[in-house]
């Protein structure tokens, strides 16, 4: 059928008029045809677009299915870390020094609070008392952490408080009660410096963990060892974090647990420390500041490590409040300073046995050679004075140690020269870290010509003067050592030059299996020393306790001990006579005592330092006596070895 399609926009066919004609009907048919064409076009349009959708579905649901399946699983499954319980720290006899207990805390997530922090705490205060101390502590925590972390506002809630909060918890979005494991140090101040403490993980800790690749293992852990054993053995104590696969809804609410990987608890530490001995040692100091380190010379195991004053490590666990922090930090007694390995002091006369041994080994003086002591030593127009006016008379090596004759060592040091002294002393780890298992050890100073060159920038000061060697000879001058170094050197001497690395941890105990890993005594080295030379020193040090400067303190001891007293000058006397009553307490001399016992078969070696304690014989030796008494005979003292009044008594060093 041929017809002319009437199209729009074409001019109407001329002469086409109404009423309808056959032409009109044809047009109607044409229009119908055109319409049907459009219906077909529409149908194709529909099919094409539905085809697009189908293609999209095929893409998403078959080709990309795995990806979206994974995303859906990631949506729904949340890995919730399960914190391992931290290893317990025990002394050598199993006395618990650090453990965990579980308690409820009230925690605030600042970013989730509906109103300001102050308002929320105010509202909370109506239900559970929030003390000003809690608030201060919380403020400090907030300053140290990120907004979205949950921080404890109040710890150790009572059951009643937990119940009261639970009933009202709907009023407090962003605040919740959580059950947490808390670290507790049952002995408080006792042994605080060696145990250390844990504290909340701060930005620096976090950066360290990141460097160590340990961040994943610390998910869900808020605390980390900050000082002492807690810090040094962090990786053993922490354990391995477990994980719970929890199905969650879009609001993050847990619906059910799908799978659980148990955490592996941290390992327990058994120390070589005898906490009874530690307690006796700490008490022996009375009100005095100072330090004591006792070592088993045959293993290097530390039996006691005292730094007085101590502090209560429990204060740090939940975040210390600013007032306590200020008190500890600003106290002139510096209770946070671990004097045993961070305090450096001139060794005073305790240096003399090592000097004597150096002279024998180096052939600078024989044991029998005696000098006449006039009470002073002239050098370069300067008089180096002995403690005893008029001198000690004829002094050989034995007597030089027993009576602690300065003049003998002035001349000896002058003969040897600084570099010979320094070379020998280095063998005993003077001026070097001992490698003990606590961080932050100070190396002290073992002076030498080389050291002085490095120490001073001014060329005029870089030169070593022979006069400076003379002071070093009696343990004064530039040389300063930590009590740990003194104890370590004494132990090495007691053990005839066989040196062990001092360590606090004896066993590492697996909490699950109960198996123990022994921290083997590590013989660092054996210093080649002639037995006959050692015998001279041993005999002389035994003489100190029997008939010398230490005799008074060790009167009536049931064992034979060997020791040496020492006094370290704090204040330069510039040639004047030292008088205790005339010198302010903090400028008074430090008292030293080093000892080992029994003299013939040493089981313990120690170094005692009493800050501003005056003469070593008067204050430091009695402390050593109490410690040795207890360790060797089990005798417990009735009172501190010394108190403030003892410091006055005088004696020759």
């Amino acid at each position: 059928m041929k017809y002319r399609r009437r199209t729009l926009f074409s001019k109407p066919v001329k002469g086409r008029m109404r009423p309808p004609s056959t032409n009109e009907l044809k047009n109607a048919n044409a229009e119908r045809y055109a319409f049907q064409l459009r219906i077909v076009a529409a149908a194709l349009f529909v099919l094409a677009l539905f085809g697009c959708l189908l293609a999209r579905f095929v893409w998403l649901q078959t080709l990309q299915h795995d990806k979206y399946q994974t995303m859906a699983e990631a949506n729904r499954i949340s890995l919730v870390p399960v914190q391992p319980s931290r290893g317990i720290i025990k002394d050598r006899n199993g006395v618990v020094l650090a453990h965990n207990y579980s308690a409820y805390t009230l925690e605030i997530t600042p970013s989730k609070l509906p109103d300001s922090l102050e308002q929320s705490i105010e509202r909370l205060n109506k239900i559970i008392e929030v003390t000003p101390k809690d608030r201060r502590r919380f403020k400090k925590l907030m300053d140290e952490t990120k907004e979205f972390e949950s921080l404890p506002i109040k710890t150790r809630l009572s059951d009643e408080e937990v119940a009261r909060f639970a009933a009202n918890s709907y009023q407090f979005p962003g605040i919740e009660v959580k059950a947490r494991l808390f670290r507790h140090y049952p002995l408080g101040e006792l042994a605080s410096h060696l145990i250390g403490y844990i504290g909340r993980i701060n930005d620096k800790d976090l950066a360290d963990l990141e460097d160590a690749g340990e961040t994943a293992n610390y998910r869900g852990t808020d605390h980390i060892g900050k000082v002492g054993i807690e810090q040094f053995y962090e990786s053993q104590l922490h354990g391995t974090t477990g994980f719970e696969e929890v199905e969650i809804d879009s609001g993050g609410r847990a619906i059910r647990t799908l799978r659980r990987t148990q955490p592996k608890p941290g390992q327990n530490l058994v120390l070589s420390v005898d906490i009874k001995l530690q307690e006796i040692a700490e008490n022996a100091f009375g009100d005095n500041n100072g330090s004591l380190v006792a070592i088993d010379p045959k293993t290097g195991g530390i039996l006691a490590l005292v730094s007085k004053p101590g502090y209560d490590p429990n204060l740090f666990v939940d975040g210390i409040d600013p007032q306590n922090w200020k008190d500890l930090n600003e106290s002139p007694d510096k209770p946070l300073n671990n004097r045993a390995l961070r305090g450096t002091y001139p060794p005073g006369s305790t240096f003399k046995p090592f000097m004597a041994l150096a002279a024998l080994e180096g052939g600078f003086r024989s044991a029998n050679a005696a000098i006449a002591d006039p009470g002073f030593f002239w050098f370069g127009g300067h008089q180096f004075r002995d403690d005893k006016a008029g001198g000690h008379g004829m002094v050989d090596m034995y007597r030089s140690i027993v009576v602690s004759c300065d003049t003998y060592y002035y001349s000896l040091a002058n003969t040897m020269g600084i570099d010979n002294i320094s070379r020998f002393m280095k063998l005993f780890d003077f001026g070097q870290p001992t490698g003990v298992d606590i961080q932050g050890e100070q190396p002290g100073v073992l002076p030498s010509q080389e050291w002085k060159k490095k120490r001073f920038k001014n060329p005029a000061q870089q030169k070593w003067f022979a006069g400076e060697t003379i002071s070093v000879g009696i343990g004064q001058g530039y040389n300063t050592y930590t009590p740990l170094q003194m104890a370590h050197a004494t132990a090495t001497l007691a053990n005839d030059g066989v040196m062990f690395k001092p360590h606090l941890v004896q066993f590492i105990e697996d909490a699950d299996k109960g198996s123990r890993t022994v921290v083997e005594p590590m013989p660092v080295k054996t210093i080649p020393l002639k037995p006959e030379n050692l015998a001279v020193i041993h005999r002389a040090m035994a003489g100190v306790v029997k008939e010398g400067t230490g005799a008074k303190a060790f009167a009536g001891a049931q064992y034979e001990a060997a020791g040496k007293t020492g006094t370290a000058q704090v204040f330069s006397l510039k040639g004047g006579k030292y008088s205790e009553s005339g010198t302010k307490k903090h400028l008074r001399d430090h008292a030293w005592f080093i000892a080992y016992a029994p003299a013939n078969d040493p089981k313990i070696a120690l170094a005692v330092l009493v800050e501003n304690g005056g003469f070593g014989a008067a204050t430091a030796a009695p402390i050593a006596r109490q410690v040795l008494d207890y360790y060797l005979t089990g005798k417990k003292p009735n009172a501190p070895a010394i108190n403030a009044s003892d410091v006055e008594s005088s004696g020759d060093d």
């Binding site: 459009r38 219906i39 529409a42 299915h65």
Partner: protein, 370 residues
């Protein structure tokens, strides 16, 4: 007697259209039960809406085509007046002025326009059928642009576009020249390209509309904000796989990851639990409904019937396409429900009213034949 009543009920109904529609509706109840987390209240609500809408469909199917034509002009005029009313006295909510308070309840005049505009345009072309020329298309375009412009001002981009589409389908079936359609398609495509690629969006659309477009282009840019809907919908569909996770077993659905999962995003639930197979079945069901609608249009005896039936059918298709496209992440998020499936009375009512009109058009042909 009963037989006569049954005959009376059956008379206006198009059995195929009803059958295909019921297939989709049955499916929708099954999906809703899962999407609502077995909320029987919602299911019974949905059944109530269905009942009311089917009755409404039957009533509309009974209206003769002549009477429908008489309704066209008044309905359109009333619609435009109400839209103007919205401009001046409308109720504002969520930054948009879409509602008119008529004392008892709030009404949304744009809903009326969904039916009134195609009705009006179909009537207009029918009225001037004998001597149609290009001027009529211009007038028809203006008739369309008045309500579309008013709705766009509310602002309600989604509804405006869909109403514009329903008007455009009338023009298309009335014989809008192909070259013009081609030109419009090119211009539209070019504009969309320009807007999305040259950041002109900010100047032309409102901020939230811009954001939706930007979100569709890169949902991961803002995964917890505007992109959340698209991402979670896409994850739900994609994780459904070939056969789906099974009815009531969709994790995205039941752990509350899919937002608006009983309404605009119900297709994500469907895709997750029934997979590609289910999606294909749904597409086929929609195609059956659309096919029946186009058949009615094809066979309609008057231009009015043809145009109206074509427009209603293609508008239904458009809703389905836009919704599924949006949920599966190939179109921006516009608040368009999945026709017949999403929970919600208004949408159900307007769609089944439209189907009532389709049935009326289909019946008209039968009467003519008889």
């Amino acid at each position: 007697m009963i037989k006569r009543i049954w005959e009376g009920i059956k008379r206006p109904v198009d059995p195929w259209l009803l059958f295909f529609t019921l297939l989709v509706l049955v499916l929708s109840v099954v999906v809703l039960y899962s999407a609502s987390n077995r909320d029987m209240d919602k299911v019974s609500d949905k059944l109530t809406f269905m009942g009311i809408a089917i009755v409404a469909m039957w009533c509309v199917a009974n209206i003769s085509l002549q009477n429908l034509m008489r309704l066209a002009l008044p309905a359109y005029v009333l619609g435009v007046l109400l839209l103007l009313g919205v401009q001046f006295f409308g109720v504002t909510s969520h930054g948009a002025t879409r509602w008119l308070n008529v004392g008892i309840t709030r009404i949304q005049p744009s809903e009326l326009m969904r039916i009134a505009l195609p009705l009006m345009l179909a009537w207009y072309f029918h009225h001037f059928e004998a001597h149609l020329n290009w001027r009529h298309f211009v007038v028809a375009a203006l008739l369309m642009l008045i309500p579309v412009g008013l709705i766009l001002k509310q602002p309600d981009l989604g509804t405006a576009l869909l109403i514009a589409a329903s008007g455009f389908y009338i023009l298309f079936f009335a014989g809008l020249p192909w070259w013009l359609i081609g030109a419009m398609a090119l211009a539209g495509g070019g504009m969309a390209y320009t807007v999305t690629h040259w950041n002109l969006c900010i100047h032309l659309l409102r901020e939230y509309q811009c954001q939706r477009v930007a979100t569709m282009l890169d949902p991961m840019e803002d995964p917890l904000g505007a992109g959340y809907h698209i991402i979670q919908g896409t994850i739900a569909i994609g994780s459904g796989g070939l056969l789906g996770k099974g009815w009531l077993n969709g994790t995205q659905t039941h752990l509350d990851f899919i937002p608006e999962r009983t309404t605009d995003f119900i297709f994500a639930v469907f895709g997750e639990e029934f997979g590609l197979a289910g999606n294909a079945v749904l597409l086929v069901m929609y195609l059956l409904v659309i096919g029946r609608g186009l058949t009615i249009a094809m066979n309609a005896s008057t231009l009015f019937g043809r145009l109206l039936a074509g427009s209603i059918t293609l508008t239904f298709f458009t809703y389905a396409f836009v919704n599924m496209g949006m949920v599966s992440g190939i179109l921006p998020v516009v608040g368009v429900p999945l026709p017949l499936v999403s929970y919600g009375g208004t949408s159900m009512l307007s769609i089944l009213t439209g189907f009532g009109i389709l049935m009326s058009i289909g019946r008209d042909r039968k009467l003519m034949k008889a």
